[in-house]
């Protein structure tokens, strides 16, 4: 009876040639294999956030790696863990990835201690993206609160790099205090792009702050709207996009043209671990970017 249970080697080739008898050819891949990548540069943005430039070491893999604005990667610090991080950089950039990471818990703390040259693992990209193609020829509202600028920046860069594809572009960004503002050294540059309006607001200004004080929603009042020709992307904490989206709704923008990026605990990025489940939806593969209609229909989403 030896032949009964011959060991069966699971390989991609074998699975394609002789699939399990489940009427289905599985797209088998090495789910845990990572791209080995090197931290090529580190910029301290604020006390809690650093910007990492990460370069996939293998040149061919680096060339092959493409993503869409809004997608995220799983960054692995071998021996400590893996975390989902949105890609903050431009999708047109093939040389390195930009990741803006807040020191929040264990893995992000190790990353914050890492040095230029440290090697980490990357998997991805995962998840849905901002609807940059659909947004063509529309007015664009890009709204971020706090760390929400990290994912939104990829959209900002896409829009500024492809300025002619879009009509009016408004970027609204708010944080609690001025020292939490991310990428402040780039505001000037974005403002200079023809027809891009950038407004910054903080909740608590304090001494030396000459800019706006208040909530991001306040900025919306001043923007001339053409609601049926506008797309909005809102990134930030749930309370914030709830208010902002309600306001946008009042201004007449349909829910399916507002996009939000949701955040949940994640352990796999592949719709397996269920940690990011909202109702019946996986934030990692059905999200993180959802249109607002879908988002409010997810149980417990907001």
């Amino acid at each position: 009876m030896k032949s009964l249970l011959l060991p069966y080697e699971i390989t991609r080739e074998a699975e394609m040639a002789e699939p399990l008898n489940y009427n289905h050819r599985s797209r088998l891949m090495n789910t845990e294999g990572v791209y080995k990548a090197e931290i090529s540069s580190i910029t301290q943005l604020t006390e809690m956030e650093k910007l990492f430039h990460i370069r996939i070491l293998d040149a061919a893999e680096r060339q092959r790696f493409t993503f869409l604005p809004g997608q995220f990667v799983m960054v692995e610090v071998p021996g400590y863990g893996e975390v989902p991080i949105s890609i903050s950089g431009s999708a047109s950039n093939r040389g390195f990835l930009e990741l803006c990471i807040r020191r929040a818990g264990m893995v992000t703390s190790v990353l914050h201690r890492a040095k230029t040259g440290s090697r980490v693992g990357l998997r991805g990209p995962f998840g849905t993206s901002f609807p940059v193609a659909m947004m063509r020829d529309h007015h664009v509202l890009l709204i971020a609160g706090g760390l929400g600028l990290a994912p939104l920046r990829s959209a900002i860069l896409h829009v500024t790099e492809n300025r002619s594809d879009f009509r009016n572009v408004h970027i609204l960004y708010g944080t609690k205090t001025p020292d939490q503002l991310l990428f402040d050294y780039q505001y000037e540059q974005w403002r200079r792009v023809d027809g891009v309006n950038l407004s910054i607001i903080v909740e608590e200004g304090g001494d030396g702050w000459t800019g706006e004080v208040g909530l991001v929603t306040k900025l919306l009042d001043r923007i001339p709207m053409e609601p049926d020709r506008t797309y909005a992307i809102v990134c930030g904490p749930p309370v914030m996009f709830k208010f902002v989206c309600n306001k946008l709704g009042e201004l007449g923008i349909p829910m399916r043209r507002m996009f939000v990026s949701l955040e949940r605990r994640m352990h796999c990025g592949m719709g397996k671990c269920c940690r990011c489940n909202i109702g019946s939806t996986f934030t990692c593969k059905d999200g993180p970017v959802f249109d607002y209609w879908t988002a409010i229909n997810l149980k417990e989403a907001i």
Binding site: V77, P78, G79, Y80, G105, M106, S109, V110, R113, A114, K115, G117, S118, R119, V120
Partner: protein, 255 residues
């Protein structure tokens, strides 16, 4: 230590003990597979149980045992003053441990009973954090070496550590231990913090709660289900009081 191009100096640690059985310290010298790298990962400057020599320049102090005499209070304060990080090691240090049960008795009478006409100084038992601020508490009677090792690895790299929030039952399942409650024994597993790998139920002994409460334990329901299985509130409370971890948590489920 060098890992991912991150250089970390070996933290200088010291181990001190107070009112206890020294079982937790002993765990530090256990687990032969990793003992050598464990001792290499840190620099031990003071560890009376296994080494001669009193270093003063420690950064991390592991404090084992409960506090039950005035000289202990003083010694602990000195340690707190010197240590950058004070770690309470074991249930005695975290909760007072079994020693805490002493507080239920009249101390003079206790003294008379044990020492007759020559009473010895003794104070009501306190946990370490009731005397000085504590940075990290590692519960367990004794502590689980695996967990201590993990914590030490985090201390070496100076990154935060999180204990399991869930209760012991999870680890029973992992070991295929048939639930003792099913077999008719009392077990505190459903309300006690995991991390020990559930050796007690596996060895045929219901959990006695040495690691203290899991996060947000449903104590009220636990009393109810124990009662439904024939265990009185008194029995359950007595067991919850055994290691002192549930001090202040009663059937109401609140601290």
């Amino acid at each position: 230590m060098r890992y991912l191009k991150i250089d970390s100096p070996r933290p200088r640690i010291a181990v001190f003990d107070f009112t206890d059985c020294e079982g937790c310290e002993l765990q530090l010298a256990n687990k032969e597979e990793t003992l050598v790298p464990f001792l290499n990962a840190v620099e031990i400057v003071d560890f009376r149980e296994i080494a001669t020599g009193e270093g003063e320049d420690y950064e991390i102090a592991f404090v084992e045992g409960a506090i039950s005499r005035s000289d202990e209070v003083e010694r602990l304060k000195v340690i707190r003053g010197k240590a950058r990080l004070l770690v309470a090691l074991g249930s005695c240090a975290c909760f007072g441990g079994v020693n805490r049960m002493k507080n239920a008795y009249d101390l003079d009478a206790a003294n008379a009973e044990v020492y007759g006409p020559t009473p010895k100084e003794t104070l009501p038992v306190r946990s370490v954090k009731e005397v000085v601020p504590v940075d990290l508490e590692i519960p367990g009677c004794p502590v689980c070496k695996d967990e201590v090792e993990r914590i030490v690895r985090h201390l070496v790299l100076d990154v935060p550590f999180a204990f399991h929030a869930y209760p012991v039952c999870v680890e029973c399942k992992q070991r295929f231990t048939t639930c003792l409650m099913e077999k008719g024994q009392l077990c505190l597993g459903p309300i006690v913090r995991a991390g020990c790998e559930a050796p007690c139920p596996a060895g045929g002994l219901g959990c006695w709660g040495c690691r203290g409460p899991a996060e947000a334990p449903n104590v009220e329901e636990f009393f109810a289900l124990a009662k439904a299985r024939g265990f009185t509130d008194g029995e359950v409370s007595e067991r919850m009081a055994f290691f002192g971890g549930f001090e202040g948590i009663a059937a109401g489920g609140t601290r």
